[in-house]
């Protein structure tokens, strides 16, 4: 072989493939016979069911009619049930004429949650905002001051209750889960066994039984006269339950941190707590953002189980509103669609937010 003089080749951009929409269709939907078959099958199913769904949900639906009108022959979905019952679905058994109070309370709480998600708001004042909003939430809901009538917590219901339960449970379960996750890796055997015992015990029972115990068994062990509000007991129950799962997710993240990180921190003279707070937890939590958000979304939806102890949050107040009304009871499915939409809006927002957080925490890994 004759020696050739080396000539450097300048970098150039990757070739772009532009075959137009037809080319896209071919490459994505009909690239070979298996893909084509799948496309045809799915296409047929959609072509068959989509028009029927549209027909039921939109074309033959009733929107603002009365119940009799919905019962007429050939009528599809009866969305009128939502127009008729949205107050009881959203606010449960809360006194009808006072329902502006839960509305304002909910708006305040949702604004607080949104603000807490925005980086520009992460400053000490946010903690103050939490205290203020929680205080006004309870003041508005409970009343008994400033001319507001008193509404006992067992009459609270609907969306405000769902949001309150979810927010408090998540906000309380997260720090507890952190402590338990660190505890399970502690060098002290007593702390380690205690945390392991807690996780295994709580994971071994269904949430329903935890709520049942919190609501009915727990008061039996309290001294007579001392009565803890059912809401507090239920929040404690969900918190303890959720924290066990969350702790295991966080522990997974802790296991993923290389030993060298802790050694480097130690060699730099950082204490155990400084190391955990500044080095280990930021990295561990960043790796488990998807798992944590999974937990948060579960908690949000699991609040629907408090119906078992006669607290009527969103799902409970739907049943409450429709079961007692023979005219509208047949249209429960439309009601369920309505609250499914509300649940979905919240859960989807949470899941999009978690994607954003993932992007933020992975900045250091980008080339």
């Amino acid at each position: 072989m004759s020696a050739r003089i080396f000539e450097p080749i300048l970098a150039r951009p990757a070739p772009t493939r532009s075959a137009g929409p037809l080319g896209w269709l071919r490459s994505k939907l009909f690239s070979d016979w298996k893909t084509s078959l799948a496309t045809l099958l799915v296409g047929t199913l959609l072509a068959y069911y989509l028009p029927q769904l549209m027909d039921w949900a939109v074309l033959r639906a009733r929107w603002l009619s009365d119940a009799n009108d919905c019962r007429a022959e050939g009528v599809g979905a009866c969305w009128s049930v939502v127009a008729e019952k949205y107050r009881i679905i959203l606010f449960g058994r809360y006194p009808f004429e006072e329902q502006w109070r839960p509305l304002v309370a909910t708006l305040l709480m949702v604004s607080l949650l949104v603000a807490s998600c925005i980086r520009a708001c992460w400053r000490p004042a946010l903690a103050l905002a939490w205290l203020l909003v929680l205080a006004s939430f309870f003041a508005l809901m409970y009343g008994d001051l400033a001319g507001l009538s008193k509404v006992e917590s067992d009459r609270w219901g609907g969306l405000p209750l769902t949001i309150l339960l979810a927010t408090l449970s998540i906000a309380l379960a997260f720090p507890l889960a952190l402590a338990v996750a660190l505890g399970r890796r502690s060098g002290l055997p007593a702390i380690r066994s205690l945390c392991t015992l807690y996780v295994e015990l709580v994971r071994g029972v269904p949430l329903i039984s935890v709520l049942f115990m919190a609501s009915f068994l727990f008061p039996l062990f309290m001294p007579p006269g001392l009565n803890i509000d059912v809401l507090v007991r239920v929040v404690a129950g969900i918190t303890l339950f959720a924290a066990a799962y969350m702790a295991e997710v966080i522990r997974g993240g802790l296991q993923a941190i290389p030993r060298g990180q802790v050694e480097a921190a130690a060699s730099l003279g950082l204490s155990y707590w400084q190391t955990q707070r500044l080095i280990v937890l930021p990295q561990a939590l960043a790796t488990v953002v998807p798992g944590l958000m999974n937990n948060f979304i579960s908690i949000f939806k699991d609040t629907s189980l408090v119906t078992i102890v006669s607290l009527y949050e969103l799902t409970g107040s739907l049943s409450l509103g429709l079961n007692s009304d023979a005219d509208w009871r047949p249209y429960k499915i439309e009601g369920y669609f309505f609250i499914a939409l509300i649940y979905f809006a919240f859960c989807y927002a949470m899941s999009r937010y978690s994607l954003w957080v993932e992007q933020q925490v992975n900045k250091g890994k980008a080339r």
Partner: protein, 250 residues
């Protein structure tokens, strides 16, 4: 060395085991003078990393005494904290904190454990980065740098605490051949400035150029110690002759 009357590190019959059966350090006796530069070499598993990791108590010894700058290492956490402020360490795998920028990697410990104001810590950090010739990367994240650059950042990070002693645990073993020199250059410069250095390495060129003393370890013991000239030209024990023939022979 002339100032051996006041050694900065003293190992006195130090023993250490991993588990019950692996006797990793056996009766280690060693005095390091202030400003002395020591290279430790030996086959893998000979205990050389463990030896230097005992000095800042990343490993605990079970028997014997270990005194660093007048402080005896023990279960007393205060003693460990005090020693760690005097001792900087550089690891084979760099162990930079990937979630922090280069600058934050350097200022973290001065701010949190040194209680130094942020401004001052950052000024000092920039000086150290200039010292390792990498100041322009201060705002990048570690994983955006090459291996050699990361290791130089790690050296700068250790220097930010103004340590009296620097420990290097195979600092060039994880680097591409092209990057070894830039790290060794920084270490050589450091050695010229009078800091006490203990370096586990197989870079024999570095040992010859920089070390006051070479220590050869095998099976948890110090087999031989001598000046680099003596050690490389006239190794005393058969074990070190065998070792040298293997690492210099290729």
């Amino acid at each position: 060395m002339n100032n051996m009357s006041d050694p900065i590190i003293i190992f006195d019959k130090v023993n250490k085991w991993y588990g019950n059966n692996f006797h990793v350090l056996r009766d280690i006796d060693l005095s390091v003078a202030r400003g002395e530069r020591i290279v430790i070499c030996g086959p893998s598993g000979s205990g050389k990393s463990t030896l230097i990791r005992c000095i800042n108590r990343l490993e605990e010894h079970q028997e014997g005494r270990l005194v660093v700058d007048g402080i005896e290492l023990s279960d007393d956490i205060k003693a460990t904290d005090a020693v760690r402020k005097e001792v900087g360490m550089v690891f084979q795998q760099f162990n930079l904190f990937p979630h922090l920028t280069v600058l934050d990697n350097l200022t973290l410990s001065p701010i949190w454990s040194g209680k130094i104001p942020k401004k001052e810590a950052e000024q000092n950090a920039m000086q150290q980065l200039e010292r390792v010739k990498i100041a322009e990367q201060a705002l990048k994240y570690p994983l955006q740098l090459s291996g050699g650059q990361q290791q130089r950042v790690a050296i700068a990070r250790a220097l930010c605490l103004k340590p009296k002693i620097m420990l290097f645990d195979e600092p060039t073993s994880a680097l591409d051949p092209e990057m070894i020199k830039e790290v060794l250059d920084v270490m050589t410069e450091l050695a010229a400035q009078g800091i006490t250095m203990l370096c586990v390495t197989h870079e024999m060129g570095f040992a010859k150029a920089v070390a006051d003393r070479v220590i050869f370890m095998d099976e948890g013991q110090i087999v031989e110690q001598a000046t680099p000239q003596e050690f490389f030209s006239n190794p005393q024990s058969p074990r070190s002759r065998d070792f040298l023939s293997k690492i210099l022979g290729h």
